[in-house]
Amino acid sequence: MNKIHLFVIGCIGAGLWACSSVRKVYVQTDKVPITTLSAPDDSMQAFIAPYKQQLAAEMDRQIGYATDNLKRGRPEGSLGNFVVDATLSFLEREGSIPEQRYVCIMNNGGLRSPISQGIITVGDIYKLMPFDNTVVVAKLPKNALDSICQYLTSSGGEPIAGFTMNEGSCQVNSPSDPDTLYVVTSDYLFNGGDHMDFFGMHYSYRNTGVFLRDILIQEVEERDTIRPVIDDRITLE
């Protein structure tokens, strides 16, 4: 019964459509996953091989020397201190930010591998920072510092530069503006990563588009010798 109804309506419908000059286009779709079930094309594999080798050589390129191990740590670690200090000094040297005005906050979780004492290669920096995180420069209200301070207290510490946290209370190193806190961070954290919600208070921001990883590579090349720094920039209550 129903089927007949459907058929009749179908026929009327088809008739109407035909009048208005409709071209039927039948569509069949498929999504073809690329997996190990498809053997790699030999000639393309051979074409890629020398690039792969060159890349391996690039990863092995020596860019500096670490006098000691740089490690993650809380409330502060030499690895985190290196990353935030390098970021600020790179941006200052490049003229992207005025000197001494900015503070920097990154996250311990984003530092994926320590740097061992000895030669530092490009590959070491890729291991430390495999993500394509870019650097963001933001303006926040001054009281954002209180929120940052609370965050550091509850997390037990993250890599910071340009301000100190002394027994749970925070102070910028060089007061530059009574109303504004100038902050450098990664796009990941700025966009809500690791629940650093205080970035939601921003007045304005700029994504520099520069990879944090590239900054670190260039900074190691610039400094040549990296000495681990622990300077009690964070002490918890």
């Binding site: 179908g10 009327i12 409709v22 071209r23 286009v25 039948y26 569509v27 690329i34 393309m44």
Partner: protein, 303 residues
């Protein structure tokens, strides 16, 4: 319970039948005599040259251009009317880009036989000069309808659209790019002017369908799929345009299992598809086109 569900399904079908179209009811059969046009597509491949390692947390043993090449060759050996397209963000994501500045991606896409691509926001990452340098190694055209490159090194290197003759079919392909401000550092895109995509899309699609008499009009869009995150996106483009048959999207790395059927401004159907990122999959859509009619409207029948 079963009966009730059946009743609901049938009512829904009847309702749809009155308002939409007759062909939704039965599984439609493709008439034998129709010729086939095969569209293959990728987006956001992001310099992923190699297959992800077997111990990769998310995509073990997936992707890789040499494997993609095999898949494409297999399809091409049985389909004579095939077009291979990319919706942008070819660059950035692995050290291959940092080291070879996009040249390898262009060489490999040329070897795979890409017919056309559009420029994504990350394709500015080597700068405009960098793109031009890498583009020397490509033998396929880029379509960008809403980037004005007049005062840049890319002037004359891209076009708004391309028309491909595949067997009996004329296929119009045009490209749309995402707004660059705040997304790409201005030093990289220089004097590129981004224009509102949807009015431009409508002009070009109309031109392609009626003046150029294209059998199929395809938009390579790097606007992104999401309705909220971006001002102009593929779903909005679908709803506010006409004369486009297929939107191949990118930018948002959206994994769609199959193309979505949307309604355009005048109630015609338009497909949106996007296949994630990193070359994890190749999208494939086969179109069987019926007899050509003057000033026709297209009625898509999903098989």
């Amino acid at each position: 319970m079963m009966k009730r569900r059946l009743f609901i399904q049938q009512s829904a079908l009847l309702g749809a039948g009155v308002s939409v179209a007759p062909t939704l009811f039965a599984t439609p059969k493709i008439p034998d005599q129709l010729e086939k046009l095969t569209i293959l597509h990728t987006n956001d491949t992001h310099s992923n040259i190699e297959t992800f390692p077997e111990d990769h947390a998310k995509y073990p043993g997936q992707g890789g251009v040499a494997r993609r090449h095999t898949v494409i060759q297999n399809i091409r050996s049985s389909e004579k009317n095939a077009l291979l397209l990319d919706a942008g963000d070819i660059f950035q994501g692995t050290p291959y880009f940092n080291k070879f500045e996009g040249t390898l991606e262009m060489k490999l896409m040329s070897q795979m036989g890409y017919d056309c691509a559009t420029i994504g926001n990350h394709d500015f990452d080597a700068g405009l000069e960098g793109f031009v340098k890498a583009y020397q190694f490509a033998d396929f055209p880029f379509v960008c309808a809403n980037y004005d490159f007049t005062n840049t090194p890319l002037n004359g290197l891209t076009s708004s659209y391309q028309i491909f003759q595949k067997g009996p079919f004329k296929v119009g392909v045009f490209g749309l790019g995402v707004g660059l401000n705040g997304l790409v550092p201005s030093v990289l895109y220089g004097d590129t002017v981004h224009q509102a995509p949807i009015p431009i899309a409508n002009n070009i699609a109309k031109h392609l369908r009626f003046e150029e008499s294209c059998d199929l009009v395809i938009c390579l869009s790097h606007l992104g799929y999401h309705p909220k995150q971006f001002d102009d996106c593929d779903t909005l483009l679908a709803a506010e345009s006409e004369n486009i048959d297929l939107i191949i999207g990118g930018h948002t790395h959206t994994f769609l299992d199959r193309p979505e059927v949307h309604k355009n401004k005048v109630g015609e159907q338009v497909l949106i598809n996007q296949v994630g990122w990193a070359g994890l999959a190749l999208g494939r859509i086969d179109f069987y086109l019926g007899e050509k009619k003057r000033h026709e409207r297209h009625k898509l029948v999903m098989v």
